[in-house]
């Protein structure tokens, strides 16, 4: 029997009371809400105050080739409560040409590297991030490889990396 997480209806009701109606859906017992980009930091901060103290993950999905997608990028914030074991997925949608969202590092230190990885892989700008550098790819890299318009086998960047010789190291 699959586990059903504890309900979070009271928090959703309080959220709607505080910020107006929110778009929410449930799939396989997981509650997701959609938050507009300009209110993301405020809403996440409010949710943290309501008991969602653990930021499990920050990630992103590129909806370029997704059927019936309205936006290009969908950020995913997975929140959890260490006291009640409730979970909540917060989605924030952003678009080209300059996808930007407010950084949540002031709320959770855990977001630091997670946001750096999203910037590296998808090119989402996190406003207010203390140290937004690439995490996995080298500094010289210019593309964002997990975007859907980036080919699986790369664009040949590997062959153009600067070669460090012993004299210049």
């Amino acid at each position: 029997m699959p586990f059903t997480p504890p309900p979070i209806d009271d928090i959703l009701a309080a959220l709607a009371e505080r910020f107006g109606p929110v778009e929410s859906s449930v799939f396989r017992g997981q509650t997701r809400i959609v938050v507009p980009e300009e209110r993301s930091l405020e809403t996440l901060g409010w949710l943290k105050g309501r008991g969602f103290d653990l930021l499990v993950d920050v990630t992103c999905v590129d909806y370029l080739e997704y059927p019936d997608a309205k936006h290009r990028y969908g950020l995913v914030y997975l929140l959890a409560s260490t006291a009640t074991n409730q979970r909540l997925t917060v989605r924030v949608f952003v678009d080209d040409p300059r996808p930007t969202v407010r950084s949540v590092v002031p709320l959770w230190e855990a977001a630091n590297w997670l946001e750096r990885e999203v910037w590296d892989m998808f090119g989402i700008h996190f406003e207010g991030h203390p140290d937004l550098r690439r995490l996995l790819m080298p500094e010289e890299f210019t593309a964002h490889p997990l975007r859907k318009d980036y080919p699986l086998q790369g664009r040949g960047e590997r062959h153009n990396f600067p070669v460090i010789t012993r004299d210049h190291s």
Binding site: P5, D53, W113, L114, M121, R134, L135, P138, P145
Partner: protein, 412 residues
């Protein structure tokens, strides 16, 4: 101050550069190739004498685009890639990946399959903790302890080899089931392991738990408070050693954990020694789980039925029933296999290192639209500078070992 020189007259050197204390700092490159990092990662340490003032972790040396590959391989093919993430406990990764896929597809496992997966996930936890604690011992000078642990890992490898033919990269699970059922020989080998392992565990504890050198090297080193653990996203033994009583096996019982009795091991000190103790105790609890699950292993089919069209039917079914033939044909053809909803879901298991989750998005196709892996080691490595500040250079290996950083999982 002026200097009188017989040749040049009086020289006024001026105020001169004022030396600040940080000018005397030493920069030390630790890794990417260093025996104590165990894997390929790099730390740039700022040292004042032997004291670490700051550390700058660098990673990405093993980045191989696993998440990008996950968008191009089918749900069953990708399990071979998850083997290579945390290669200390590949079985746990297999279970985590297919747990996430089955959550997305809405597949309910047979009781026998969930028990089998529970057993192998716990065996993987034991082998992971043995290596992690063994490596902490090795780095702090206890080589014998490491070899005791490594010998028992060999026994677990042997069980896995008997089970699925592969020692290291098992790729054992399938969507809706596992590749092979338990044979009597596997059950016998696990039973023997359950019987013999506690003695080794006792020996290991006698070797190290009250060893003066080891306790001095690890106690009070790399302290992580409970608030910091939650704020920095720590999970698994690292969080439990800091007093966070979070264990997904209890909090969100998946597989067969709801039926089994075990305790969540916690400590409150939050230092390297507490993390060592939590891992040692968790091995005993894992052994309890394995013993219970093995003795209560339900009979019945191991894979989900033919009607669900997710797991390949057996050869007998293919050759003797029309449903088996059709199901086998459809699963072998491209785009005739699973019914994948246009939805996204996240599912996590309590892997040996912490919460190992996969955020899987489906778009109706036979492979994932997005296969995000939430690696526990990433968040643990991110807190490394916080833990090491103010400690000495020799503590770097103790803290690094106790966090159990696996670079392949870190970089993916």
């Amino acid at each position: 101050m002026s200097i009188a020189s017989p040749e040049y007259g009086t020289i006024d050197p001026g105020p001169g550069p004022a030396a600040r204390s940080e000018d005397y700092l030493w920069t030390l490159n630790f890794g990417p190739q260093h025996p104590a990092t165990h894997t390929t990662l790099r730390l740039v340490l700022k040292l004042e004498g032997e004291r670490v003032v700051d550390a700058l972790p660098e990673m990405g040396y093993l980045h191989s685009g696993f998440e990008k590959i996950g968008e191009h391989l089918t749900f069953n093919q990708y399990v071979t890639v998850t083997d290579r993430m945390n290669y200390i406990s590949p079985m746990a990764n297999n279970v985590a990946w297919h747990h996430a896929v089955e959550t997305l597809l809405g597949i309910e496992l047979t009781p026998r399959c969930s028990y089998i997966r529970t057993i192998i996930a716990e065996l993987a936890r034991i082998s992971d903790h043995l290596l992690c604690n063994g490596a902490v011992g090795l780095d702090t000078g206890a080589f014998t302890f490491f070899l005791y642990g490594f010998y028992q890992r060999e026994v677990i490898y042997d069980i896995f080899e008997t089970l699925c033919g592969a020692r290291f990269t098992n790729s054992y699970t399938r969507v809706g089931g596992v590749s092979q059922d338990f044979t009597p020989l596997v059950i016998e080998k696990i039973r023997t392991f359950v019987k013999t392992f506690p003695k080794t565990l006792d020996d290991m504890e006698r070797l190290l738990t009250r060893n003066r050198i080891f306790v001095d090297r690890t106690k009070g080193v790399g302290v992580l408070t409970k608030e910091e653990a939650i704020n920095r996203g720590a999970t698994g033994p690292v969080a439990r050693a800091s007093g966070v009583t979070r264990d997904l096996r209890k909090d969100e019982p998946y597989l067969a954990y709801a039926d089994l009795q075990f305790q969540v091991c916690c400590a409150s000190a939050g230092d390297c020694y507490a993390r060592y103790l939590v891992r040692m105790q968790e091995m005993r609890e894992s052994l309890r789980i394995v013993a219970q699950a093995l003795e209560n292993l339900p009979a019945g089919p191991v894979n989900v039925g033919i009607d669900q069209r997710t797991a390949l039917p057996t050869k007998k079914q293919v050759y003797s029933t029309i449903e088996g033939t059709i199901s086998h044909f459809e699963l072998s053809m491209s785009n005739r296999g699973f019914e994948v909803p246009n939805e996204e879901s996240y599912a996590a298991i309590e892997a040996p290192n912490g919460e190992l989750g996969f955020y899987v998005a489906g778009d109706g196709g036979e492979s994932a639209y997005r296969a995000r892996c939430r690696p526990p080691a990433l968040l643990h490595f991110a807190m490394f500078p916080h833990l090491i500040r103010g400690h000495t250079l020799s503590d770097v290996v103790a803290v690094l070992g106790s966090l159990n950083i696996i670079a392949a999982e870190l970089d993916r």
